[in-house]
């Protein structure tokens, strides 16, 4: 059996009267591209926020590559090895693309204020490494030509790519992408698919929230479907696609009896 990268179960999160997540569990194996789907408001992004330490869960256990963690501080989670992107792009708009990626190196480097002021040998070699590594990543992701442009001036699709580059700079074990294809056209989506496959081939496991069912079906090894904060189905894309519960969640009860074909929403 393959190595388990992320194991989370019994996750609960309540916002006042709304049970946003109830007993959610997920198990992601190394090298997988794992899809998390569900209708609007199903709790996908809440799950992401809980997983990455931006929203504290009420209950649950979390394990990353066999290490238990309790996600209350986002920077710890990033250091542990989960990097994420955001549904509404959250770059550092007034920093250059390169600087955005360099920030991603923060958790893997250690020069402090004194090193910076005295410009010690350690700080200089580390700084050169950060820059070198960031340049490599940004070239690799395919937006090297924008390295010295301010992030906010990049075209939309490339801003999404830059966010992925920034996340990759933290050397994650698990890359969590929150609707990376949102608002992309067909060409951009195809390029994104190719990029994700390439990232996976480097040994990074990917967790993906996506609305585009066609994209999920073609790309993911395994899928979890959320609805009203509950897991309603887990399995391969083909299995999930035929699940009457899933069809009902997406299209309503009347369709559940109809032939199992899920059209893109």
């Amino acid at each position: 059996m393959a190595e388990c990268v992320l194991l989370a179960h019994g996750i609960n999160k309540r916002f006042g009267g709304l049970q946003a997540l109830s007993d959610v569990e997920i198990r992601i194996e190394r090298g997988q591209i794992y899809g998390l789907i569900g209708p609007n408001g199903a709790g996908k992004t809440t799950f992401f926020n809980v997983l990455t330490g931006l929203t504290a869960p009420d209950a649950g256990t979390f394990e990353l590559c066999g290490v238990r963690y309790w996600p209350t501080e986002a920077h710890r989670v990033a250091q542990l090895g989960i990097a994420r992107t955001f549904q509404n792009i959250r770059l550092f708009p007034d920093m250059t693309a390169l600087e955005n990626v360099m920030v991603g190196r923060h958790t893997r480097t250690r020069a402090n204020a004194l090193d910076a002021v005295l410009r010690t040998r350690r700080a200089r070699t580390e700084e050169a490494e950060i820059r070198q590594r960031a340049l490599e990543i940004i070239e690799d992701i395919g937006i090297g030509r924008y390295a010295y442009y301010l992030a906010r001036t990049l075209p939309y699709g490339d801003q999404r790519r830059l966010e992925i580059a920034r996340a990759l700079a933290t050397e994650p074990r698990l890359l969590a992408l929150d609707e990376p294809a949102a608002g992309m056209n067909a060409t951009e989506k195809a390029a994104l698919l190719e990029l994700m496959a390439r990232i996976r081939s480097r040994g990074v496991t990917i967790l993906l929230i996506e609305h585009d069912v066609k994209l999920v079906m073609g790309l993911c090894d395994r899928v979890t479907v959320l609805d009203y904060g509950k897991v309603i189905a887990v399995g391969s894309p083909a299995q999930v696609q035929c699940d009457p519960g899933v069809i009902e969640a997406y299209l309503g009860r009347a369709h559940a009896a109809a032939p199992p074909r899920l059209s893109p929403t």
Partner: protein, 396 residues
């Protein structure tokens, strides 16, 4: 497009720590020479101008310190002058007869009076200011924008009111009358207040103070530039741009914020100590809210977060009152035969106009950071503009 990326290695800036381009080096030498000659040249018009220059350098230090908090880390601080006060009073108390006069036990321990060297008091003042920075920073970690501004404003006022009232029952600060007879700067046995002959010349005390202050201000610039261009500097900017994203990228927001507050405060503390030594007198009225706002205006006017812009803003706004004092009255006399607007009133009027003008026409300041972000690649800005990139790939 992929070909463009590989065909233009010249687009990449020199690695940090590489040699300074000769053009920049030349400019630096010229600037250094100008700074050395300046007090002698301007001193011809009277000592008041040299004194004004000294205050300009103090404001440059303050502006640079506040720029770390507001410009780099994006934390709006309206009480910054409090750290200046902490530095100034630390120096004043440790290097004046005040404490020994009012505390007999202390007088017994130091029969010659407290005259602690500036090499000791400045670090103490700076560390104390840094400690106050953390004291202010800790409760406001979760505040942003307007809310943060209100709390910091309150903090600044609290410090000033304490200084105003800590004269009874035990007289620590001498209240509104302030502390007098503060020791001047002594370097070894050399007293900056009574220099005598230096290298066969007779520089005035003011000129020597100017050199000392300029040296410290240059050091402050160096520290700022190095901090900006480091792992910590990028973390500050990330925090300023998007706190949530910064957290998700592994930046420990709490530590980084506290570092911004305390390092910014350190600059204020050092400037305050030098101010006390230079002036020989401190009182709470030098540390009013108005001063905090003036320092903030300097960095906004100059270019928030851009060190050269901040220095420019500080120089301009600090020189303005002095220039007005010497020109407003004679000019109006000559033009209208009488003084219509008092110099002080005119100054506030010009501040207001300048602020409105900046907001309208240069919202990013007079000298903002370059738009295309070629911050580290001197003289290669054009390469980022695309045309140059095309030209390169065309030739290749």
């Amino acid at each position: 497009m992929g070909a463009t990326a590989t065909a233009e290695p010249s687009n990449h800036p020199a690695p940090p720590g590489g040699r300074t381009p000769p053009r920049v080096l030349g400019a630096m030498i010229a600037l250094g020479a100008a700074l050395i000659v300046l007090p002698w040249a301007i001193g011809a018009f009277g000592d008041a101008w040299v004194r004004a220059l000294c205050f300009v350098t103090l404001y440059v230090m303050l502006a640079l310190g506040l720029n770390i908090v507001v410009g780099f880390a994006g934390l709006l601080d309206l009480g910054y002058i409090a750290f200046y006060a902490v530095g100034a009073y630390t120096y004043a108390l440790l290097a004046s007869p005040h404490l020994t006069e009012h505390f007999p036990a202390l007088a017994h321990a130091f029969p010659a009076g407290l005259h602690v060297s500036i090499w000791v008091t400045l670090p103490i003042g700076a560390s104390l200011a840094a400690a106050f920075g953390i004291l202010l920073g800790t409760p406001v970690l979760k505040l942003r924008g307007d809310y943060l501004a209100i709390v910091t404003l309150g903090f600044g006022e609290i410090i000033r009111i304490f200084l105003n009232n800590l004269n009874a029952p035990l007289n620590f600060t001498n209240g509104p009358s302030g502390i007098t007879l503060i020791d001047p700067v002594r370097i070894g046995s050399f007293n900056l207040a009574h220099p005598g002959t230096v290298l066969g010349m007779h520089p005035s005390s003011l000129v020597l103070y100017y050199y000392l202050l300029v040296a410290v201000a240059l050091l402050a610039i160096l520290v700022c530039v190095r901090l900006q261009d480091s792992r910590l500097g990028r973390a500050w900017m990330a925090l300023r741009e998007d706190e949530v994203a910064a957290r998700a990228m592994g930046v420990n927001v709490r530590n980084v914020k506290l570092l911004a507050f305390s390092l910014g405060a350190t600059f204020g503390g050092v400037a305050g100590g030098l101010f006390a030594a230079f002036q020989g007198f401190v009182s709470p009225e030098s540390f009013s809210l108005n001063e905090s706002i003036i320092v903030l205006s300097m960095i906004v006017l100059g270019g928030l977060g851009h060190v050269p812009g901040v220095v420019l803003g500080a120089v301009m706004l600090a020189l303005l009152p002095e220039a007005l004092r010497h020109t407003a009255v004679p000019l109006q006399d000559a033009l209208f035969g009488r003084v219509l607007i008092d110099a002080e009133v005119l100054r506030m009027l010009l501040y207001g106009l300048a602020t409105v003008g900046i907001m309208l026409y240069r919202p990013r300041g007079l000298w903002p950071a370059p738009e295309h972000g070629m911050r580290r690649a001197f003289g290669r800005v054009a390469a980022a503009n695309g045309e140059a990139a095309k030209a390169v790939s065309g030739h290749g």
